[in-house]
């Protein structure tokens, strides 16, 4: 992000604040326009303008603009405007809401913002697309966007955090294949170390890589219901299910011989290094467990070529847990004004055709089951993004849902305690420390 784009973002915000009032007039209740009735005819009837705002700039902005062009083509009577707020989106939006002139639709990366705006009564429910989301995405995607029993958010651009990236040459030398399940994954690790390369590269200096690993295991051992309860802190972190997940996690983090640099080295390894050391020469480890954004780091920091040098498999399922489970994140579309044009846009964003426009350009994933995975530009994205559409269980990254003090602060809460767990391996002590920290953070 350069200074000029930031300035542009601020200017854009100012212009929005002045300009949005103009299109706030057509608030006529149009209860009849439900999804089922949006036929060719109905789309021509909608008219007005809709303003949108998100973090995207540069190529991402172009891609979203293309989506909006598709929208304007389908609804010839509507004009759609986009303003990039850059990294300052939360601040810009909060200020705009405070001033009473938010954009009609915004797409935000922080689930906490959705709740925050809903609590301020700034959001309009989008229950009119609830059935579509439930059918085309799945029940879990409705849940992710629901606050107080009403649907407010549509996870338009999703991210898959249940992926494992591996060095194909190391796998080939060791004669191992991407595993079918957790046991296969652990067996692979033993074979890999026998072949001479540590199995795991952990970016332990960044606490979030460890929370992501824990969440993937927890969703698969405890199941989605417990996952939701733990995310809300309705069950304590000393619960049997947490102990069990930590014990499974220890099979990876406690396998010191099998971690590049040992646990001490891992605690000093930041996420980018944890990726590049797997694909460097010589490789220091065979695989790295992190989300779909790893692909970007590999191509930026190493010379590895997709499929030829690196590849990806889904985080394996654990016996007795859900199959095809995905922990993810992403950008949620929310609606601040209830006009026919805004509704039309929300409806459009939930369609596979909207997703397809951006998906073809790359750097995008959708949970829409009706989106043909073949539209993704390469095999790697087809795997990571396709898994989102196929996911039977989808959950938002738990630490992102927790208060930041517990889930997102270096040297504190979950990050720090799981780093300690990496070095001491004490399951009981870790669970108790997590519970103490969670209690304090959720109380406030």
């Amino acid at each position: 992000m350069t200074i000029p784009t930031r300035m542009a973002a601020v200017l854009a915000a100012l212009m929005l604040a002045l300009g949005v009032a103009a299109c706030g007039g057509d608030d006529e209740e149009d209860a009849g326009t439900t999804q089922a009735q949006t036929t060719e005819e109905a789309t021509k009837d909608v008219s007005g303008t809709v303003s949108t705002m998100a973090i995207w700039s540069g190529p991402e902005q172009e891609a979203f603009r293309a989506v909006l062009d598709g929208f304007e083509k389908k609804y010839p009577g509507v004009k759609a405007r986009y303003d990039s707020a850059g990294d300052q989106l939360p601040t810009v939006l909060s200020t705009a809401v405070e001033g009473g002139k938010p954009p009609d639709v915004a797409i935000v990366g922080q689930p906490g913002l959705v709740e925050q705006f809903q609590a301020k009564d700034a959001l309009k429910p989008i229950d009119f697309i609830k059935d579509t989301v439930e059918q085309d995405f799945g029940e879990d995607w409705v849940k992710v966007g629901t606050v107080d029993g009403k649907l407010y958010g549509l996870l338009f651009k999703a991210a898959n955090k249940s992926t494992v990236w591996f060095n194909t040459q190391v796998f080939e030398d060791a004669g191992v294949e991407p595993p079918e399940d957790w046991q296969g994954f652990l067996d692979n690790a033993q074979t890999l170390t026998q072949a001479g390369t540590p199995a795991y590269s952990l970016g332990g200096a960044d606490g979030w890589t460890l929370t992501d690993l824990f969440e993937n295991i927890y969703l698969r051992t405890a199941g989605p219901e417990k996952y939701d309860q733990l995310a809300e802190h309705e069950i304590p972190w000393t619960d049997e299910s947490v102990i069990k997940a930590l014990e499974e996690m220890k099979k990876v983090t406690g396998d010191r011989q099998n971690i590049a640099g040992g646990t001490r080295g891992a605690l000093q390894t930041e996420f980018p290094t944890s990726v590049s050391q797997v694909f460097g020469d010589p490789p220091k480890a065979a695989q790295v467990i992190e989300g779909d954004f790893v692909a970007g780091v590999i191509t930026a920091e190493t010379k590895a070529k997709p499929q030829q040098d690196f590849d990806v498999f889904a985080f394996p399922s654990i016996e007795g847990g859900p199959e095809n489970a995905v922990v993810g994140g992403g950008d949620t579309a929310i609606m601040f004004s209830d006009s026919p044009a805004s509704r039309a846009l929300m409806e459009y964003l939930a369609t596979p055709e909207a997703a397809e426009i951006w998906a073809r350009r790359g750097g995008f994933a959708s949970g829409n089951k009706n989106l043909d995975a073949n539209v993704y530009p390469d095999e790697i994205t087809r795997k990571t993004a396709g898994a989102l559409g196929e996911a039977e269980t989808f959950r938002f990254d738990m630490s992102d849902l927790a208060p930041a003090e517990f889930g997102a602060t270096p040297g504190k809460g979950e990050w720090k305690i799981l780093q300690d767990f990496l070095s001491n391996g004490d399951v009981q002590k870790t669970a108790q420390a997590l519970e103490r920290a969670a209690k304090r953070a959720y109380e406030k």
Partner: protein, 444 residues
């Protein structure tokens, strides 16, 4: 500041005008500074003090001295206070001492300007950047951190690493020992027997180029034969069995311990085979590989680990500020009356006595300026901690200012507690400031 000595020269008839001129001009000149000070210092200070008696959610909730209680009960904050105490105890004294030594010694050296520039150079770097530099320099992995690269290069020169670090026996129960002691076959071998020494954990690139397909040598009466090879086929293979594609490891020193207590050695050939001939029939021989083969490259201390992070920070900080101390003390030194030194020397004082009894007492005011400046600097130390300490030890490295920032903005978002920490820091600095002001006065 009293520069009113020339006022008396003004004629008495213009007394009113002079009074105005005197105070009015002063006021006009002071006004901008006063306004700015009030706006940026006095108002925020008072606001912070008031804010520290309220809870997390603004002025809604008066909590009395709860925040101050938390200050001395929260583990993280206690660590911060402890660390700051260490900083104050170590850094000002060392910086002053090192600065003094540099200043005195460099007075007598040719090329002193070049040395001075080198020592002063770190002052030109921002503390944050200096932290990044030391962060990379002190990495534990010798491939990344230059300090440990040096340490391991020196250590390896004296105690060279073996050809097969990380290697382990393929059949754990057939061999005893450890990489530190070497591995020996559990079962003694009798003449006419074959010793099978399979190893795993060897990356393919560590097998010498001239290695050939391993071969189990035929038994021969009166001698012990055997093979050392990379006992790994893709997928794992059968441990202890020489399979197609598994290569022997040439150049490994195999040890044979005779029943009489002697030791013989033999070296493996390209196929990994070795042979001890001319042995006494019926004796039980122990066959193994010595520890030298498995010796790992020396790794150096974990500078950025939880135990050494505070010393590492202190070293980096002293590196930055020693130059400042040197320049200030050097200036004091050059303005010192030389004749006193000469007199002392003529009286027969040794150089040490001159330094101890004349130079240091005469420099005392300058030394105390450096010392006090450093105490204040160190109490407020912030950026270097943030940039040098990896996320996993941020809580071990934390100091008061970092805790204040993290509590207020960097995740916890508790402005009440954050303000309390700020006030505490302020209270700590006051006595030092008072001392400084007193010193200024006495100098005038």
């Amino acid at each position: 500041m009293s520069g009113s000595g020339n006022v008396a020269a003004v004629p008495p008839e213009g007394e009113h005008r002079t009074l105005w001129r005197r105070h009015g001009t002063a006021a006009v000149f002071l006004l901008p500074a006063l306004v700015l000070l009030g706006l940026w210092v006095v108002y925020p200070a008072i606001y912070t003090i008031v804010r520290s008696f309220f809870g997390k959610d603004g002025f809604a909730e008066f909590v009395g001295i709860d925040n101050y209680e938390a200050l001395f009960t929260d583990d993280g904050l206690i660590t911060a206070i402890k660390n700051n105490a260490i900083w104050v105890a170590v850094v000002p004294a060392l910086v002053t001492a090192i600065g003094l030594i540099f200043a005195v010694l460099l007075e007598r050296v040719r090329w002193s300007v070049a040395f001075k520039t080198a020592v002063f150079m770190p002052m030109a770097i921002s503390a944050f950047a200096a932290g990044v530099i030391w962060r990379i320099t002190l990495e534990e992995d010798p491939d990344r951190g230059v300090v440990n690269a040096g340490i391991s290069a020196v250590a390896d020169a004296f105690d060279p690493p073996g050809p097969l670090p990380r290697a382990l026996p393929s059949q754990r129960d057939a061999m005893e020992g450890s990489p530190q002691r070497g591995f020996t076959l559990r079962e003694p071998v009798r003449p006419g027997g074959v010793a099978v020494l399979g190893l795993t954990g060897i990356p393919p690139r560590n097998v010498p180029e001239d290695a050939q397909q391993a071969e189990r040598p035929p038994p021969e009466p009166g001698s012990v034969a055997g093979v050392v090879w990379r006992d790994f086929s893709p997928g794992g293979g059968r441990p202890g069995v020489v399979e197609r594609g598994e290569r022997g490891i040439p150049g490994v020193t195999v040890e044979l311990r005779t029943p009489g207590g002697g030791t013989r050695t033999a070296e493996t050939d390209a196929k990994g085979t070795f042979r001890f001939a001319g042995l006494k029939e019926g004796g039980a021989y122990r066959v193994g590989i010595g520890k030298a083969t498995f010796a790992q490259s020396a790794s150096g201390p974990s500078w950025l680990g939880e135990k050494l992070i505070v010393p590492s920070l202190l070293i980096a900080y002293i590196w930055i500020w020693a130059g400042f101390a040197m320049v200030v003390i050097g200036a004091g030194l050059s303005s010192m009356p030389r004749d006193v030194l000469e007199a002392a020397r003529t009286e027969g004082a040794t150089e040490w006595q001159v330094f101890r009894r004349v130079t240091v007492p005469l420099l005392a005011p300058v030394l105390s300026v450096v010392f006090i400046t450093m105490v204040i600097n160190v109490l407020k130390v912030f950026d270097i901690v943030l940039s040098l300490a990896p996320g996993s030890v941020q809580d071990d490295a934390t100091v008061i200012a970092v805790s204040m920032w993290r509590t207020s903005f960097g995740g916890v978002n508790d402005f009440g507690l954050g303000s309390a920490i700020a006030v505490f820091l302020f209270v700590l600095v006051i006595p030092v400031l008072a001392l400084n002001v007193k010193r200024f006065r006495s100098e005038q």
